[in-house]
Every structure is written in C-alpha cells, then in structure tokens.
Amino acid sequence: MNGPHDLGGQMGFGPIAPETGEPYFHAEWEKRALGLTLAAGFMGAWNIDESRHARESLHPADYYRSSYYEIWIKALETLLTRHGFVTPADLAAARPVDAAAMPKRTLAPEFVPTLLARGGPCDRPIESAAKFAVGDRVRTANDHPTGHTRLPRYARGKFGAIVAVHEGYVLPDSNAHGHGEAPERLYTVRFPAPELWGASADPRSTVSIDAWESYLERA
C-alpha cells in the first residue's frame, strides 16, 4: 500500500539528530512494548508480514506523530483484537473482561533464549530455476497494490541491474494477508542514483533493494 511508512525520498522531516550515548530504551514502557510484541507474536496467530502491515496501516497522521515503539503498540492492539485475544471492552476497562481465543502456544521464560537464538528464517526451498542472473538488466513493476508490498514507491518502474541472486523467500505480499507463504526467488537490484532521483543525483552512487521475482521484468 502507498502508506505513511514508505518514506524513501520524502522531504520535510528535518535533521536526523543522532543522540550521543543513546540508551537502548528511553522509558520503562518501551521495554514492556518490546517484550509484549515478541511474546504476543510467539502465540503464532500472525506472522511478521501481517504485523508490518498492521503498523503501516495506521492513519498517516497517527504514524508520523508516533515513536516506533508507539507504532508497535498501536499495531499490536490491532492484531490482538483481529485475532480474538483482546476485545474493545478489555481495552476500555484496562483489564481482562472477555474470554480470549486459544493461542497455538505461549512463551515460557525459559524458552526465550532458544526463541531468540533460533529466530524466524524466511528462506524456503524453491524448485524453479532463477529467471534472472547477475548482470541482467531489469525493470521494476509499476504497481500500486492496496495491500502489503515491499517494493518502495521510489523504486517502481525503474531500470536496474541484478547484483545478487538469492534463494526462495516467503512473499510478503501474500503472507501478510493470510494467503500463504507463496515463496519466490529473491534478488538484489542496484539502481544508479540518477535513475531514481534525476540528473542532479551523484552518478557514482547507487541504491540497492531486495526484490522478489514477481516485482521484476527483463529490460
């Protein structure tokens, strides 16, 4: 979707202002937000693509006025409600009111090290041969899907070159919407900066994205 999250090349957000000696957390609630997000995700009702889509589906005004952990919590409420673990009555009362759906599993403290060490690999075996090879020129799709996609707007309809061919990976466009993992081969595509940003861009600089096969056509 052409949502507020798709920030590449937007203007007006001001300086970056890195903080010296930045702590990992700026408030206690941020720690709980991180832990709650990971622990709730472990219940297995949604995947990382659905959670990303919930975040980018916040109203743009809400997205831009929220810190990243605030975005996480707002999206987590959406996901928990959508999947029947939390109801509006629970949230209004700030305590459990209604019964919850049965989770596939819950996260035991002693399992946390294993969970974090294992992660969630997204590569998948794929039978078909790679359609593109390193060095091939490609053009990215110029589609504007209303659902989740990982092809940023600034890189749509652009000419680039394949610089790496990877394995099959879960396709977010499908997986975010409960339509299955639909794995496709992934490529790294490099664009000269002027192809994306016009003639005034530095001709020696490039931007690369990782793109699934269906995002690309031969050029």
Binding site: F13, P18, Y24, L38, A117, D210
Partner: protein, 188 residues
C-alpha cells in the same frame, strides 16, 4: 503511552497469554547480551583473518554463526565491505529492519522518518550530519533492507593498527561504522 502499555500487559497476563517473566527475559537479552560488541567482533576478525573475511563475503550468516551470533533479525546476513573509493550505507525505508543479532536494537534515529527518508536520496548530506565527509569521487552504495536480508558494513581498517589483537581492534569498531553512518575510530 505508559498507561496504555501497562493496560495491555495486564490484559494479556490476566488472560494467561503472556508471562511477564518472558518479557523480562527478552529485555534482559537485548540490554545485556546482544549488542554492537557482537558486530565489532565480526569486523575485527574480518580485519585480522583474510580467510574469515572471505567466508564473510561468501556466506555471512554462516561466518557470523561461527562466532556464536545469529538468530532473530540475523537469520539471513550479508556483509558489505567498504574499500578505498567505495562506501556502503544501510537503511530500511519501509520500517526498521536492522541486524539485531550483530548490532542489537536499533537507535531511535534509524527508525525515524528523517533518516529513512533521506538516506536513499541524499546519502552525502546524511553522512555530513554524522560528521562523515567522504572524498567527492567516493562511490556511495546505499542498501535498502526491503526483504529479510540484514546488512552489516565492514568498515575499512584504520591505519596504524598493524599487529593489533582482535580485542584491541574491536574497540575501534563503532555501531555507526557498521551501519555506514560512521567510520572506524582512529587509534588514540
């Protein structure tokens, strides 16, 4: 927001869906165990051991795993080697993808709109805000983490560090140098 998060935790714990001790364990992991020291060890070994640097180029995930690092947000790693005349910079314009396994949790600026919007269109201006000015003829290669590959920059080894141990070298490797918004520190 503090009250809103507390309410959500109360609801989920009350329904038996989340164990608060699991939250504590997650927080403790990222406060004390997983951070940029992991990545600094990878870089220092790459500087010291050409065979390791080669392995990192071929299969970064496996090479990083030999040092005991991997897992969440480090499942599929790629290493980007800076070289004279070529500098790499990593961003996630669409969300906040970051190689947690080697760098820990991302700083606020990495997840915020100014960096995410500008890194791809104005990398030189971004670097200048971090105090990094590269020669005009240096190529800048920006990598937008749009899929599940996670990128770590291997900065150039500072001169004057011949014969240094990996432990000494690791102290020169900053978090920002592994994102590409900084360079490795010069020896004091």
């Amino acid at each position: 927001m503090a009250a809103r998060v507390r309410a959500l935790e109360t609801i989920l714990v009350g329904k038996g869906l989340v164990d608060p001790a699991a939250i504590d364990a997650i927080v403790e992991t990222y406060e004390t165990k997983v951070g940029p020291r992991n990545g600094a060890r990878v870089v220092a070994k790459a500087w010291s051991d050409p065979a390791y640097a080669g392995a990192l180029r071929t299969d970064a995930t496996a090479a990083i795993a030999t040092l005991g690092f991997g897992g969440r947000q480090g499942e599929h790693m790629r290493a980007l080697f800076n070289a004279p005349g070529a500098h790499n910079l990593v961003v996630c314009t669409l969300c906040s993808c970051y190689p947690w396994a080697v760098l820990g949790l991302p700083p606020v600026w990495y997840k915020a709109p100014p960096y995410r919007s500008r890194a791809v269109i104005d990398p030189r201006g971004v670097l200048a805000e971090f105090g990094v000015t590269l020669p005009a003829d240096t190529e800048i290669h920006v990598w937008d983490s749009t899929a599940e590959l996670r990128y770590i920059v291997i900065p150039e080894r500072p001169s004057g560090t011949e014969g240094w141990s990996e432990e000494q070298l690791a102290d020169l490797v900053t978090r920002d140098s592994m994102i590409g918004t900084g360079l490795a520190k010069a020896p004091a």
